[in-house]
């Protein structure tokens, strides 16, 4: 037995780092979603504990400003996690037919970005995994579809 004490942040950071490493090296997308999703649960709570707004709250605020429905933080968070298939890929109900329809690449990217927002709130922009992932984004994503330079006034190009 080698029991050691670990901070919750450390557990989340290690999982997020593995998720990003797998993603940029072409590894399994489902594993990326699970790892980033698990890290995000911890990071989201840590952000709240630090009395700041986490990604879910920031997203909810944006939705309300656009005239969206007034949901609770929990309901909005569940809705986002469902869209990213975070729960579907770690659970199967007795009456589940077992099939899921998704874009693994998009969900993996979304799961990392969601967790990364919370990570940056806690650890800042200058950590290696943040810099590395942002560099990957600039080099590999379509600037017409994604805001690769984090411009606050950016809008997606019309199709």
């Amino acid at each position: 037995m080698t029991l050691k004490s670990y901070s919750r942040f450390e557990l989340a950071e290690n999982q997020l780092e593995t998720a990003i490493g797998l993603f940029v090296s072409g590894g399994d997308r489902f594993s990326v979603i699970s790892l980033a999703g698990a890290a995000d649960v911890i990071l989201s709570r840590l952000v709240i504990n630090h009395e700041q707004k986490n990604f879910t709250e920031l997203s909810l605020k944006c939705e309300l400003e656009r005239g969206g429905a007034n949901e609770t933080r929990e309901a909005h968070g569940k809705c986002m996690n469902d869209a990213l298939f975070i729960n579907q890929i770690k659970h199967m109900d007795d009456d589940d037919d077992g099939f899921i329809d998704l874009e693994p690449e998009e969900c993996a990217l979304g799961a990392i970005l969601k967790a990364l927002v919370n990570y940056v709130i806690l650890a800042g922009q200058q950590k290696d995994i943040v810099l590395a992932f942002k560099a990957w984004v600039r080099l590999n994503l379509d600037s017409k579809k994604y805001n690769i330079n984090c411009d606050p006034n950016w809008k997606p190009h019309a199709k």
Binding site: M1, T2, L3, K4, S5, Y6, S7, R8, F9, L11, N14, Q15, E17, T18, A19, L22, G27, D28, F30, S31, S34, L35, G37, A38, V41, I42, R45, L46, I48, N49, Q88, I89, K90, H91, M92, D93, D94, D96, G98, F99, I100, D101, L102, E103, P104
Partner: protein, 158 residues
């Protein structure tokens, strides 16, 4: 949009977990991925009419302690013992730190998931063999098998 079956989703996560473990990388990630695979494989093993790991563990518990724990609560207990809960959940009142034995929990989480995976698929795939070889070499496999041989049949998996 592409269609996947959860069996393949579980397999890919387990394959990734074994790869991370055997390369000596992050044990936290191994625990989470093995835990995610188990969450799917348990249902598939039940559906195949075989005995999932959690039901085997409940049977052993009954032999040792005298009663069979409820499936849901014992499954949660196992997840907690393996460190799965600590890696995917944090409540408002939880402390900032947690005591874990990450290497042992990674081995145990992989063993649980692979037990269900092998029930469905056998043990001929290279990643399954690679992990079992590691366990054999690093946890005194021969001594473990001697203990297993003398255990009564009712304490063995079906």
């Amino acid at each position: 949009m592409a269609r996947f079956h959860k069996h393949d989703v579980a397999r890919l996560q387990l394959l990734t977990a074994v790869g991370i473990f055997l390369r000596g990388l992050d044990h936290s990630s191994v625990i989470t991925l093995a835990g995610a695979a188990s969450g799917i494989l348990d249902t598939l093993v039940k559906r195949a009419g075989k005995e999932p790991f959690v039901d085997y563990a409940r049977r052993v518990h009954c032999e040792l302690v005298g009663y069979t724990p409820k499936r849901k609560s014992y499954s949660h207990h196992i997840d907690k013992k393996l460190g799965v809960i600590a890696h995917k959940h944090l409540s408002k009142d939880d402390p900032d730190t947690v005591e874990l034995d990450l290497e042992k929990q990674a081995v145990d989480a992989l063993s649980r998931a692979l037990s269900d995976y092998v029930s469905l698929n056998g043990q001929d795939e290279p990643f399954v063999k690679a992990f079992f070889s590691w366990v054999w070499e690093n946890t005194d496999g021969p001594a473990l098998m001697e203990k297993f041989k003398i255990a009564p049949d009712r304490m063995k998996p079906k």
